[in-house]
Symmetry: C2
Subunit: 438 residues, 2 copies
Amino acid sequence: MKKINIGLLGCGTVGTGVAKILIENKQLLESRVGASLILKNVADIDIKKDRGVVFDKGVLVTDAYKVVDDPEIDIIVEMIGGEGIAKELILKTISNKKQIVTANKALLAAHGNLIFKAAYTQGVDLGFEASVGGCMPVIKSIRESLVGDRITSMSGILNGTCNYILSKSTNEGIAFKDALAEAQANGFAEADPTLDVEGIDTAHKLAILTSLAYGMEINFNDIFIEGISKITPIDIEFADQFGFKIKLLAISKNRKQGVEARVHPVMIPADNPLSNVNGSLNAITISGEAVGNIMLYGFGAGMMPTASAVVGDIVDIARNLLSGATQRIPLQSCQTENIKKIPVMPIDDISTNYYFRFSVVDSPGVLSKISGILGNHGISIKSVHQKGRKSTGSVPIVILTHLAKEFDVKTALSEIESLDIVRDKPVLIRVEENNYSD
Amino acid sequence: MKKINIGLLGCGTVGTGVAKILIENKQLLESRVGASLILKNVADIDIKKDRGVVFDKGVLVTDAYKVVDDPEIDIIVEMIGGEGIAKELILKTISNKKQIVTANKALLAAHGNLIFKAAYTQGVDLGFEASVGGCMPVIKSIRESLVGDRITSMSGILNGTCNYILSKSTNEGIAFKDALAEAQANGFAEADPTLDVEGIDTAHKLAILTSLAYGMEINFNDIFIEGISKITPIDIEFADQFGFKIKLLAISKNRKQGVEARVHPVMIPADNPLSNVNGSLNAITISGEAVGNIMLYGFGAGMMPTASAVVGDIVDIARNLLSGATQRIPLQSCQTENIKKIPVMPIDDISTNYYFRFSVVDSPGVLSKISGILGNHGISIKSVHQKGRKSTGSVPIVILTHLAKEFDVKTALSEIESLDIVRDKPVLIRVEENNYSD
């Protein structure tokens, strides 16, 4: 039986999961692939730690560069993460003309253009299914299943931590910081949760998907990002009254003027399938001219689900090696010479529906002033909701709008904020009434 | 630019969709594939019909055999359907060593073993993604994305007609025959709906998926099939009271004793994601040891969604041709020599939870008699629900059970049916409390 030698760099949670599958499912993999996938070396700084996997003698090593330079190794699996040494090792692997698999979304979002170009030039394959949505086969779906279709938009819940926190807040009416503390206690959030709760991790994934879906280069900094830390129980409650749920979505739309690519909290109808994705689960809806909508749903993180996606990539590349078909599918979904430069629309230029909540002094004429300013900026009101009168302090006025342009909304809100009847900064949450349509 | 010539057999709804995509998205496909996919011939008995697609002169022909024998054609797309001429043409294509794409689930369910063997022997590829779940990439997910994982079970809504009818009945409280009539009027059901509503179409798809998921040959006749024609509004209402929805599911489980493969109406918890799949949509949950559960969701039928899946297969095979990698992936997910013979468990041997509804004479001691018989057969009752007393006629007694064996259930129900206090045949609906666990 033919052999494919694999070198694994980094044996943390997902790396260990990959090793487990390669070792424990060895026979199963052989029966499917028709070749033996051999984990020749695993490089990690800590080779003494008990990982619950039995490695043959000599498999665990400390020097990742030696693994990358080993002429007997066919596929390198980079599970180190981050943009430092991982980037160096990936580029070294590519220049050694070895195939590579990675789940490193931060690296691909920031340096994907460089890395893809290097892989293309050297004629090697680069698998990165596990970089987005864990075990959901979203990259394979875009690059292969939907190859004949024109993708028009995507909406995804791509960060389990944020979805866990928002689900907690929604179901138990607790504030962001309490839900975050609970997520941390349960291992669903990092000690420093910034990357997750501020939407950056979601944006990394959106950058990768947007580039693949529309066959374009993307500059990560062009993506508009807003996290969930300012979402309060009162807004979740209002959303519920209007038949909405609040989710942190990665949204990308292919429009005439350019591509929308944005990450922010969104109110979506409760009967949108994404509304029912709870806890740390991920899901994505991909809309295409022919398919209508497809949705994928599953664990977006975790040791074994992510490892399963990594092994899927390893096998894909092994099958290419076995049949002499490396680069059978272009890395970025379309032929390198056809990759386009499409502008990402500035957030000010996008149009959507909005939810505003103003804290105002409870006095006559307040609504007239606010609605007057909105009207002056061409923002059309769909409904207004005023809570009962209070003798002292401020009361909330909630407004839902028809389609409006973000620039107009910002201008109007800053005028309204400066009114002396308005207490606190107005709250703005974007509403996607029907994220299936364009 | 290299050229791949395609011959399309059958230009009905989906065939026309395939032609549309190949013609209208020609440039898009070239930019992704790096080769030109040329629709050289379309064979159909009716070449005069206006299909809304403009074919070049000479493309439309009546003789399918001539297309299959054309040495210039690389890939044959069989869109005729059924088990007659389609089978002949597919076998001829294979013996001509041409690649083939089909969506013909009835044919593959009945003659898959023969056809796969022929293709394997002749060294040709056979794409059949569109045979199950329309645009949902379920076959690709099983054969490729989950290649490193051991699939433990699958539960799917795989027939849009049944799901449309059940959704209608559930949401509007109308009876099966009225919902069916409406489905027919709206084009969601055929004039002869037997294949759909009796679960046969679903079972065709289940046969294909079961064979791929567990790497086994399957005999279609071993699949237990029960349709939805006996589902009544009263059972849908009871289901709702218990927090369940009724769906026609394709269920397949990989157990120690063999494989379960069955199609029948099931009560599932309302918060199971499959419960929220309404109308003509399809969805499938695949559970694996590593991935946990993934769910795919989308249009399981229809011109363009199905055509999109067909084109995905055409491109996959074209890419194999372009890189000389035909049969890169084994057709049946594992290497032919590793395909196993696993017994399909007779329905009598499976264990699940049950819902029973008995129509009984309203007199004291009835429940004691019924529960006594259930107890004698080792069937443990979870809850009993008796509707208010009626002065005349029969009243329903509803019983939910713990896990019980189908054989015991059948025996007990036939004893209960013979009691003179029991009117009508008892109603039995299987309950899957948690179709994620095994």
